[in-house]
Symmetry: C2
Subunit: 272 residues, 2 copies
């Protein structure tokens, strides 16, 4: 994903510098780009290097993994920000991310969304690949979207799984891949006994979600997870979710006979 965004920005004539987070970013693939290695907590260092490189716009890519406060190796700038950072850690991901975003802005960087710099990474409306949702799937999709909408003010709820009108799983701190594994396990243990080949993973952006710092995303591993969970497809809110590696997604979905469809948000949902 970060590399797809970097490529898209480069195609538009931007000079791109990657700041990989140690322990998270792909050590192999990043070598193809101009890059620096960063650690959580080295914000003063980041400001110096980014300014020296002439960076003006900053794009956050990738899902946030909350480091523990103990894992931070704060430099002087970060130490001065610690009271605010501690506050940011209390509450949901949006709260944390928008706090981080405003700090970057205060230090003179312009935060832009990956979707702004690389709109081609966004989920289009309609199906990707060969398969289509049935009318039963469509009704599960609507249930899922309505559910996600009703919990979106709680700063969770980017994904849920609905099968035959029954909500099997709701995502909170565990993330989508964990939720899919859970449904696979619940089927194996017999706690979910619905037939496989039913049920939809529904993903949507949170209401009021700051798209610059956090967009729902799907990748080829999402397709594998959906297949293992015995579901029949994926519905993703169009234009407000990121599709990493669309060619691999389409190939995997066709192979597993799953649909992947970009859908409208339910009426009344207004994203930031």
């Amino acid at each position: 994903m970060p590399f797809a965004v970097a490529d898209a920005a480069a195609r538009r004539g931007r000079r791109v510098i990657l700041f990989g987070i140690k322990g998270w970013a792909d050590r192999q693939r990043i070598t193809a780009y101009q890059h620096h290695w960063a650690s959580y907590g080295q914000f003063g260092w980041f400001c110096r290097i980014a300014r020296a490189e002439g960076c003006r716009d900053v794009v956050f890519v990738g899902s946030l993994v909350r480091p523990s406060l103990r894992q931070l190796r704060p430099d002087f700038t970060t130490i001065r920000l610690l009271p605010r950072i501690v506050q940011m850690f209390r509450g949901g991901d949006d709260h944390l991310l928008s706090g981080v975003a405003s700090i970057f802005e205060e230090y003179g960087f312009h935060l832009i969304g990956a979707h702004e710099i690389a709109p081609e990474i966004l989920m289009p409306a309609g199906p990707l690949g060969r398969h289509r949702p049935s009318s039963r799937d469509q009704s599960d999709i609507e249930t899922g979207l309505a559910l996600l909408k009703s919990i979106s003010s709680f700063d969770i709820g980017q994904a849920a799984i609905v099968a035959d009108g029954r909500v099997l799983a709701v995502e909170a701190a565990e993330g989508t891949d964990h939720m899919l594994s859970r449904v696979a396990q619940l089927r194996q243990s017999g706690r979910i006994r619905d037939r496989t080949g039913r049920g939809v993973l529904v993903k949507a952006a949170k209401q009021g979600q700051d798209r610059r710092v956090d967009l729902p995303s799907i990748g080829p591993q999402t397709i594998e997870g959906v297949a293992r969970a015995g579901l029949v497809g994926i519905a993703v809110s169009a234009a407000s979710a990121v599709v990493a590696e669309p060619d691999q997604i389409i190939a995997a979905a066709d192979r597993e006979k799953l649909f992947v469809v970009g859908v409208g948000e339910p009426r009344g949902q207004n994203d930031a």
Copy 2:
């Protein structure tokens, strides 16, 4: 739990016959009671035996585990009901349970709730045991209750876990014990990095839930799960949840330094 209800009914002078579901009911403890062994799908058999025993009122106790349709060993009466049963299996648990309840009623039984026959099993308002929620815990409890309320129309949402304002987990098909294990695992794997000793399990009855067939419940294993998940306590909607084995719960909560508190539902929540 079934035995506590049976004892309470017997104390009120009722004659009690237990119908244990094979594979689910406790084979040891049931022997202390007059009982029959039942299988999923033997509804005609049940009607004959229950009438022969002079049973008039039926109480469902214990959480519903959905058998697969293939596991049913339907007798003739059940076969005639199969089209309705198949319909009932589509959708959430309330849908299934209220369908089962109406079948029992049509066949001349009077379905009553465990809480009606044994009100002493209900969670009282206020704390059980020695410990009390802090004001921070109180705010997590309110977040949890509001979340559960907002999803209660989706026929899920009897429990959620909130820590420091962040929703860590929402229960759907997996059940409360599974959800608690998940949070314990997410802590171990580092995906949840909040300090242990924060966070509350919140359980509430669904809006419009048919209390005759399904009440949220906590037991000693809930306390153990909450302790393993690193949480600080449990809030349960008072008067609409069942406390199995309260003495053991209180002892376990005191030992683990957890609070267990019966709380009001948020305004506007009307239960059936």
